[in-house]
Amino acid sequence: MPTSNIIKVAIISDLHAVQCNKDEHKNTFLTTAIPEVDCQKHPISGLCKLIKNENLTADLVICCGDLGDQADPGGIRYGWKQVKRVQRELKASVLTTTSGNHDVDSRSKYNSDPWYTLKNLQPPFPSPKQALKNSFWSNYWFSNNHNGVRIVNLNSSAFHSNKFQSKHGFVTEELIAQLRERLESEAPGLINILVCHHHPQRHMELRLGAHDDMVNGQLLLDLLGNSKYGDWLVVHGHKHHPKITYASGGANSPVVFSAGSVSAKIFPDLGVRNQFHIIEFPIKRISELGLVGTFRTWEWTYNRPWDAARTGSGLPFIGGFGIREYRLLASRIKKVASRRSFISWQEVERKLPEVNYLLPRDLKSLLDVLKSDHALNSFLNEFGMPRQIGK
């Protein structure tokens, strides 16, 4: 069991670092040419400044891959250095990083071994523990337990060594069978997190396409959705489009968290910004309610400091996950607000803490139901969170 009341997990993804002599690069804001002292232009230095100013900490840091861009060895090494730097700033004892498609030299441009750069990173990638490292490169996954949190690190870019496979993520049926065997043999963790680079479920809004879905991703999610293996959070990168949903399946289907990119240049049509997230797991609540949690998101634009995410730039500053019955909650809120002119959302949170664990889209649905079914209006603060509800 975790020893603290709250487990904090920071997510940093898709750095796309490159080694070059110019500040400007078509794919990324993170180049070795930008001085690290420039906290406005260097996205990771800016992030470190935010961490310091806001006194942010984490128990665990997750990086969903794409340390570098187009397999640039210098970029991968620089990206790895920056990830370790963020880990240090957050005072996190554990770092889980997986491999992204941009970290694989699938065209053998720099070395005949597509994973040469990753395999030779210092400190060792993805883990300093030799057994875990071996498992990652031979089985393409490993499982580890940190203070009651079970983490599976899955290499969805494992088959990127040829031209066809490099276009999408892949998890083999053999790997899923191996994982099932492991899950059968272990007691489920209170918190279970699977980290991979590619999206295990279709993620094609905003013309993002379906060409790069993780092959067999749905089988993987179905496995994790089996209640006897515990409640799961799947964290992935790749799309640069921050989003949080429940996977298809039953009531126990995994929460799927698509992390934003911290420093890649994002296709403008996506309408999102570079984002960084911290998830908080309330241990006591999880014992009562199952896997619930909240997250906070910060956003970055070039030449500006990191700041709390505004609505419309990806994931909101504050959100949650784990409670799926928003209609039931709406009825309970109505009782709390009855015979009152208005009530602050803080009071609702105090009396019905479950509202904190609604997905942003479910919170919106809840407010819609409050209005349509119970004649309760709401107005939101600058971060899109309710401030008061009333008639």
Partner: protein
């Protein structure tokens, strides 16, 4: 926007309080005597040039500022201020937007209606914001409270429903914070409505205007009814509310007229505190809210110091606060910036410095008597025995010696010994000193910055930040910074035209002539115990020049010397007396003191014959360096 309401240029605009929250303003606020007056329960107009602290003063009357203010005198003010401040910014950008509503496609009458509706919505938003600040449920825990009230949700709901009905607005939730949000949306709706009208048929415009709820409320009656509803809700029926209009001269004239017309009739629960620039056009002045109500009880606060010493205590406290903010161990400004060469010999000083042989004063007098022929004549004509000035009666010493010392210091700094040409014609030489070490130290820093907090903060910040391995700021660094500040100021003023002025040139051409003339009077001419230092604007001055000087006045480049205290804004500079800002003294090489008065037209006429005119051509600094 007319030329007279154009914003005057200001150096150090980054220190403008306009963009700062009340809490941030409160963090550094030093209460001056002006704040004492402003905090009284009376209609008040605050008049001052740019940077003189008008916005900070008004912002400090808000509940949020008073509650965040931590100062030995703060509690006294919190206890004393028995009204709620409603701050209404009337800044330039906002006013430009207001004026541009429907420009080019709407009739004037419709544009006015839209502009008025936007202004009224803006005032309503400010009023509800002030109400929110009073209600405990919306406040975080804080050390200090000012006029906080605790009301039930039911009462708040009742107040909001009443106000929303009176203002013809819907609030999704009957709470003050939701009403505030709705008013913000109303302001946006007005812009959207105006923009949409461009593409809609003209024929049904009247009907569409009539259907809009935001045209219904009238400014004064709507705020009076809202104030009454809130007061009744909190059981304080006589509670007072002060509407703090910043830079009111930028507001639409019809709004100013509305306020003026309302002042006499409005109930005494509503106060007006306005900030204005010193110079407003005749038309604006005629419509100025307070000028027309001379019989009413209103006060005028003049934010510039006719006598420089009046500003010293405020400057000293402000500078001490800055030193504390920078966590310096030494918080005595004089120990960091040194003392001024004028310290203790100023003609306004009560201190008597020793004049015995060997003293600074004695050495200066003797030196100048040797090198400056006209000064020697002055000494001889008044039968002054320089070896015995220490024995003179105080009254004689004050009239004969002490008052001329500042002039002599400047004269000595810029002149070399008188010499003769071969032809026998006397030829004057000017020292080529760039930095004569007369514009540094305490209290010269206070005088040079005119008690203008933005100037003092800007210059002192630069000086303190530039220190390297030293706790002190050298006099050279200070003079360089003051010269740079003056040059920045001059280059900002350079864009102001005076098209049909004496030379059809720029405002700075006129300022240069004034500065050069005073320099000539102080340094180049025969020694005079009272050289020129003030100017009066003649009746015959062309309007464009007067307008340009009006902008100079509003920006602080020239300073009005009123015949009496607190004379309010002025509509016409003609017949009035001014001096150049002391901030420009290092630029022109003139003393930080007043002088004899001369008319502007005489300066213009005489400057035609100045030898230095031909070479200066508006760049006096260049002249000094070349000479």
């Amino acid at each position: 926007m007319s030329k007279n309401t154009e914003p005057a240029p200001s150096p150090f605009d980054s220190f403008n309080a306009r963009a700062l929250s009340p809490e941030i303003v409160a963090r550094r606020f030093i209460p001056s005597v002006h704040f004492e007056v402003l905090s009284r329960r009376a209609h008040t107009q605050v008049i001052g040039p740019r940077g003189s602290g008008k916005t900070s003063l008004l912002k400090m009357l808000q509940t949020a500022a008073l509650e965040a203010w931590d100062h030995p005198k703060a509690q006294g003010f919190r206890d004393k201020i028995d009204f709620t401040g409603v701050f209404v910014p009337t800044d330039v950008g906002w006013n430009e937007q207001l004026n541009s509503i429907g420009e080019g496609f709407l009739e004037e009458s419709h544009r006015k209606r839209l502009g008025d509706a936007a202004f009224i919505a803006h005032v309503h938003h400010a009023l509800v914001k002030a109400m929110v600040c009073r209600v405990s449920r919306y406040k975080q825990q804080s050390k200090y409270h000012h006029r906080r009230v605790t009301i039930s949700e039911k009462i708040e709901s009742h107040i909001v429903k009443g106000i929303a009905t009176a203002w013809n607005i819907e609030s999704s939730i009957p709470s003050l914070i939701s009403l505030k949000h709705s008013l913000r949306m109303r302001i946006a709706d007005i812009w959207t409505f105006a923009q949409a009208e461009e593409f809609l048929p003209l024929g049904q415009r009247q009907r569409r205007f009539h259907a809009q709820g935001f045209f219904k409320p009238e400014l004064m009656s709507s705020i009076a009814s809202a104030v009454e509803m809130f007061n009744d809700g909190i059981n304080d029926s006589e509670g007072r509310w002060a509407f703090l209009f910043d830079e009111l001269e930028l507001a639409p004239e019809r709004i100013i007229k509305q306020i003026r017309d309302s002042i006499r009739s409005i109930d005494d629960r509503i106060l007006f505190k306005l900030s204005l620039s010193p110079f407003s056009s005749q038309q604006l002045q005629a419509k100025s809210p307070l000028s027309a109500s001379s019989g009413n009880d209103f006060q005028t606060i003049q934010l510039w110091y006719t006598h420089k010493r009046e500003g010293y205590p405020f400057c000293s406290e402000l500078l001490k606060g800055m030193l504390q903010d920078k966590n310096l161990q030494e918080t005595d400004p004089e120990k960091i910036f040194g003392s001024s060469i004028f310290q203790g010999i100023d003609d306004e000083s009560d201190e008597i410095k020793p004049y015995e042989a060997g003293s600074f004063q004695h050495r200066l007098l003797v030196k100048m008597a040797k090198s400056d022929r006209s000064f020697k004549q002055y000494v001889e004509s008044r039968k002054i025995d320089l070896s015995r000035i220490g024995d003179l009666k105080e009254s004689n010493r004050a009239s004969l010696i002490r008052k001329i010392i500042p002039t002599l210091i400047v004269r000595e700094a810029y002149r070399t010994r008188d010499s003769l040409r071969k032809s026998g014609v006397k030829q004057l030489k000017i020292r080529s000193r760039k930095l004569p070490k007369i514009y540094s130290g305490i209290p010269s820093i206070y005088a040079l910055t005119e008690g203008n907090p933005r100037w003092l903060i800007g210059i002192a910040s630069n000086l303190l930040d530039a220190r390297i391995n030293s706790s002190k700021v050298s006099s050279t660094a200070q003079e360089t910074e003051f010269l740079l500040a003056a040059e920045r100021f001059i280059s900002m003023l350079r864009i102001i035209p005076c098209t049909d002025g004496p030379e059809g040139g720029r405002l700075t051409d006129v300022l240069d002539k004034i500065g050069e003339f005073i320099f000539k009077s102080v340094v180049l001419d025969e020694f005079s115990p009272q050289p020129y230092g003030e100017l009066s604007v003649d009746r015959s001055c062309p309007q464009s020049l007067v307008n340009a000087l009006g902008i100079a006045l509003n920006s602080g480049a020239i300073v009005y010397i009123p015949p009496n205290k607190n004379t309010g804004t002025i509509t016409d500079l003609r017949g009035k007396t001014f001096r150049l800002s002391y901030l420009l003294s290092p630029y022109y090489g003139i003393p930080i003191r007043k002088g004899e008065k001369i008319s502007l037209s005489r300066i213009m006429n005489l400057s035609q014959s100045l030898d230095i005119k031909s070479v200066s051509s508006g760049d006096w600094k260049q002249l000094l360096m070349r000479l």
